[in-house]
Amino acid sequence: MSANVLEVKGLTKRFGGLAAVNDVSFDVREGGISGLIGPNGAGKTTIFNLVTGVYKVTAGEVSFQGRRIENMEPYKIADLGVTRTFQNIRLFKNLSVFDNVLTACHLSAKYTIPEAILRLPRFRREEKVLADKATFLLEIMGLQDRRDIQANNLPYGLQRRLEIVRALALDPKLLLLDEPAAGMNPDETEQLMRLISEIRERFKLSVLLIEHHMDLVMGICEHIVVLNFGQKLSEGSADTVSSDPKVMEAYLGSSGGNKC
């Protein structure tokens, strides 16, 4: 078994004439926390959409645990163990916190529609397993006392947290977080950093995250990939990347150009 949980090779996505992602290759180490950074429009979220099957790839390969997953249906990729959160939170807004998580637990049950309609023993048994699992997840993620609140009435930070809990309900092996700290103050960001590390330990999963908060990225990511205009600019540890002149140029403008 390879030590990389995700391998991306020559990934390209064109929208008409625009190459949103152009020949990008990188790996995500098993059990690691990797970061995907770059200026706005660099193609970070597009890569997430390609890996999770939301977009079809134009060219290139995506392998998850040695298995090719590019162009698979999103729900199948999720079933294999890759799931994500969204930059603009996408919860099941009108459902309670508990039902959000319970819905996502569905892969842990196998009962069929006739079994559900007739309320057969397997239905009762597996429903109990699902409810216990959802309760357990809410407890360890500190949302248990908010379980009956409608998801869109939660404060922003907790909505982000709930989205992560919902993703964890699928027992993922690779969790993609799209700007998990967006809109959070430094305190909350700090908390989130701890939470991500905790999740990784407890659920034995690998994390790939997109983030603009540099202290978060530099603080917890063991491996960082820098993108600019759809191309990979640099890759390596936090120190390597932050001292790379190409990265500085992309973020701060070229030294010879006009500074504003």
Partner: protein, 324 residues
């Protein structure tokens, strides 16, 4: 008012209810709007009649197989379900409103085909359908329909459909096969509409394509929205109220549809989410509403306390003398 009259209204309401329950799953729980379910009712009514009408004895009569009512109900529901599967395969990939337009086209197509196919009497209709629908038959089917639907909705399959309604993309990422669950919802709703069609035909004893026009489809969808999206008890109430309303308004004579429209508008303004929007009149449903309310209040109280504490702090910082 005599009993026969009231019975008639109740039966119509009960028959409408079956179709409405199906639409409740499709529109209320899965989030797909349809303006073509009268088409499925028509398919059910005609196939049902074909099964139960006795073989033709005279020239000019349209004959059937003369089978029992139960066979008619099953065949009508199955035929509608089969057609919905075909329709779903080609239209369910359409997004939102486009699916709605496709169903509208489907409903009208079914009506026009029946109008022009002479085998079943064409536009003149098909008289002589046996009067098998009784209050009890309708009641039994209603109860089964409600139980099946309630059990389906409160299972992982039902939750997956609700997830599709709430946020399609997130549902996919949560491992839900969106197409499959849309298809299941469409088939179940079509089977329900088909069964309603069979009961309708065997209640009227005469079927005609005109009965299954877009007005009928619209009526069904209006009832679902009026009752409240995502509420089975709302659909039951809606079917009862909106079927009885035109009858109660008989006193207004030709103006009654105007008053019907006005009444629907008024109720929708006073309850924008429908009569029961998202709530259920069942022990579990009421517990859920109560729990959500408690949680919301507790949460608001906490937020207020925090605000107050912050306000005090801010005040203390603003006035230098106030600092301890």
């Amino acid at each position: 008012m005599d009993w026969t009259y009231i019975q008639g209204i109740l039966m119509l309401a009960g028959i409408n209810l079956i179709a409405v329950l199906g639409l409740c799953l499709l529109t209320g729980f899965t989030g797909l709007f349809s303006f073509g379910h009268a088409g499925f009712m028509a398919i059910g009514a005609y196939i049902g009649a074909l099964m139960t009408v006795p073989p033709a004895t005279m020239a000019g009569n349209i004959g059937g197989f003369g089978l029992p009512f139960a066979v008619g109900i099953v065949a009508g529901g199955a035929a509608a379900g089969l057609v919905s599967w075909l329709l779903g395969r080609i239209t369910l990939n359409l997004k939102g409103d486009y699916f709605c337009i496709a169903t509208l086209g489907f409903g009208e197509a079914v009506r026009l085909i029946l109008n022009n196919v002479k085998t079943f009497g064409g536009a003149r209709g098909w008289p002589g359908v046996p009067q098998y629908s009784t209050v009890w038959a309708v009641l039994v089917v209603d109860i089964i329909a409600v139980l099946f639907l309630a059990n389906l909705v409160r299972s992982r399959h039902g939750r997956n459909m609700i997830a599709v309604r709430e946020e399609e993309l997130a549902a996919q990422i949560a491992g839900i096969d969106v197409f499959k669950y849309k298809m299941i919802a469409l088939i179940v709703s079509a089977v329900y509409a088909g069964v309603a069609g069979v009961l309708f035909g065997h209640y009227m004893t005469f079927i005609q394509p005109k009965m299954f026009s877009m007005t009928k489809s619209t009526e069904l969808t209006i009832i679902v929205i009026f009752g409240g999206l995502g509420s089975i008890s709302g659909s039951v109430l809606g079917a009862l109220v909106l079927t009885a309303l035109p009858e109660l308004l008989r006193a207004f004579d030709i103006w009654r549809l105007v008053f019907y429209g006005a009444a629907v508008i008024l109720i929708m303004i006073s309850r924008p989410k429908g009569l029961m929007g998202g709530m259920e009149l069942s022990p579990a449903g009421l517990r859920k509403v109560a729990a959500a309310r408690r949680a919301r209040l507790a949460f608001r109280a906490e937020a207020l306390r925090e605000d107050a504490a912050e306000g005090l702090r801010a005040e203390g910082e603003a006035s230098p003398g106030g600092k301890a």
